[in-house]
Symmetry: C2
Subunit: 341 residues, 2 copies
């Protein structure tokens, strides 16, 4: 007891339980795995002993034999972006309920680091992978992972052939919702504040933007590219105003929030002089001023879906490939209401 100097290792093992219960190690193992082979009387006795000795099954040792670690690797490109942490939250919850544990890593959108992470996860014997691929990920990476025999679900972003399960938001649809809403409100010169990084997330939104403009007959008032940071979008305000837009659609809420601050610096009041619409509908959309119209993409649900897709594939490795797109939902607030604020 006392000070705890040099705490020696003392793990309770199956053998110790077996000895104390007067049965064989194999029997205890069966009890642990809730096999129906063992007699009720025996099971009760063994379970009692396990409780008394505070036995904890060593999952690593088990995996060595049965090849299932009850562990899933999750790779996100950014842990400071609420969009990804909400995603993570949804995935963690579902996996936890499935009695699995999340190995987490942040690729910082760096493909080299991402490779290291995957090797590390492989070394740890993860059962499967939920991957939000870093920008610029080589499609060959996915093939490689499959060759390792490691089930993958891609999420939020997608690279390569469509041979892996996928869960994501439907940004094409989301952007269309936003544009239609603007057009219905009488805004017809619409600019788009985008990002430079060539991810599928970006491609999808731009595709939706083109589509929506064509559908509604609205005018493209310019597509401006910036870094994916709040500060950068503050600075982007001046440039985007040169196109003379009556409304500005933004890559996400963070950029929209920054843009609104930048607009004010330029003497332009968001919501009154120009409409602003974000994407993602993070909690912050309600907090900024004016409250920001945004398209809810439900990242938590996407994360939960990705987790479910993975657990399904672990259960049936040869099930057909599935793609789950979560439906977006328009949240109208003052920033696009065409009224004085």
């Amino acid at each position: 007891m006392a000070g705890g100097v040099g705490m020696k290792r003392n793990r309770v093992t199956l053998d110790q339980v077996a000895k104390a219960a007067g049965v064989s190690r194999a029997t205890v193992s069966l009890v642990v795995r809730k096999s129906s082979l063992v007699a009720d009387r025996t099971r009760d006795r063994v379970e009692q002993v396990m409780a008394d000795l505070d036995y904890v099954r060593d999952i690593g040792a088990a995996r060595l034999r049965n090849n299932s670690s009850r562990t899933v690797g999750v790779v996100v490109p950014n842990l400071l972006n609420p969009f990804f942490t909400e995603f993570l939250s949804g995935a963690e919850q579902v996996l936890g309920q499935g009695d699995r544990v999340v190995l987490l890593a942040n690729s910082h959108d760096d493909t080299h680091l991402q490779s290291q992470i995957l090797q590390r996860f492989r070394g740890h014997g993860v059962d499967g992978l939920i991957l939000c691929p870093a920008a610029g990920t080589d499609p060959a990476l996915l093939t490689r992972v499959r060759d390792w025999g490691l089930p993958v679900v891609q999420s939020m972003r997608e690279v390569g052939d469509r041979l892996t399960d996928y869960a994501g938001g439907d940004y094409i649809q989301g952007v269309r919702l936003a544009v239609r809403h603007l057009v219905e409100g009488g805004y017809r010169r619409i600019a788009f504040l985008s990002v430079r990084a060539r991810t599928s997330a970006r491609a999808e939104r731009l595709q939706g933007f083109d589509l929506a403009l064509a559908e509604t007959g609205a005018t493209n008032a310019g597509i401006i590219e910036t870094e994916l940071t709040w500060e950068a979008s503050v600075a982007a305000a001046r440039e985007i105003l040169t196109g003379g837009p009556t409304a500005i659609l933004c890559f996400n809420d963070v950029l929209a929030a920054g843009l609104m601050v930048g607009l004010r610096h330029e003497g332009c009041t968001p919501g009154r002089d120009v409409a602003v619409v974000g994407l993602d509908d993070l909690e912050m959309a309600q907090m900024v001023w004016p409250p920001l119209t945004s398209v809810a993409m439900h990242p938590t649900r996407i994360g939960a879906s990705a987790a479910r897709l993975l657990m399904r594939r672990l259960a049936e490795p040869d099930a057909p490939v599935l793609r789950d797109r979560i439906d977006p939902h328009l949240m109208i607030r003052s920033s696009s209401r065409n009224e004085k604020v």
Copy 2:
């Protein structure tokens, strides 16, 4: 190749590498562990073979023998709160650089779930634990974890005797910075918007508030308790105004942001009619309107510090217990500038 149906397991093992390189398994093991015992020529040859065969060391199997999983469990009470995800981000980064992997779990501030999580982590053989204890955690839990022989670092919150390492922000100091700033700005009737949950985080802030009032001679205009959600704090605005405060200090930025919206509903313009100050200085503090004065607590740094403390303890289990308090820093913005906005 082809379709990948029923992908059989094919792990490259030490034995296979050994055979291919014409040495013994033990030698290859030494190479893997970068031992200086092996001759340069041999090492080169073995490393070449490892690369050719795409050998990946099985860390689980290694742990079984040498008892080190290079794995750390991180438990946070909330993955939707940016404060904790920034914390997580800092910890993940440092641990990753130390070639360790994060097992993540969200306790949802539920002590029962928290116990389950710890058992799960124990089963996975984590080397150590970074724990932000759930509200209401029994101090005995920490003793128990220590009895398991599992090194723990507490962070953000703390329970029990002070026998574990700890990393956190200094909220006493943070609150004092805020109050002094308000008093210097001429605000002397100060209310505090607090939370109901009895965490050490709450106790610390209240302690700082008392202290700061005593130091500055300012007046306590009431302490209101609410749930830790944005919506709840919107609703708290009315109640807190009954004390007739000239300034309101908030438990954190989320509550401050909600409060400002609520204040407006009550016909009271934050920054003009009443000063508002938050704690934590999350990115959102700049985004709300008016920009929110807040005290930066640097959660990312706290997370990094917690990770470093844990790695230190893993390296030297008997090092003296350390407590790291990250210094807070006041960020003055319009919400407390005593000017027209």
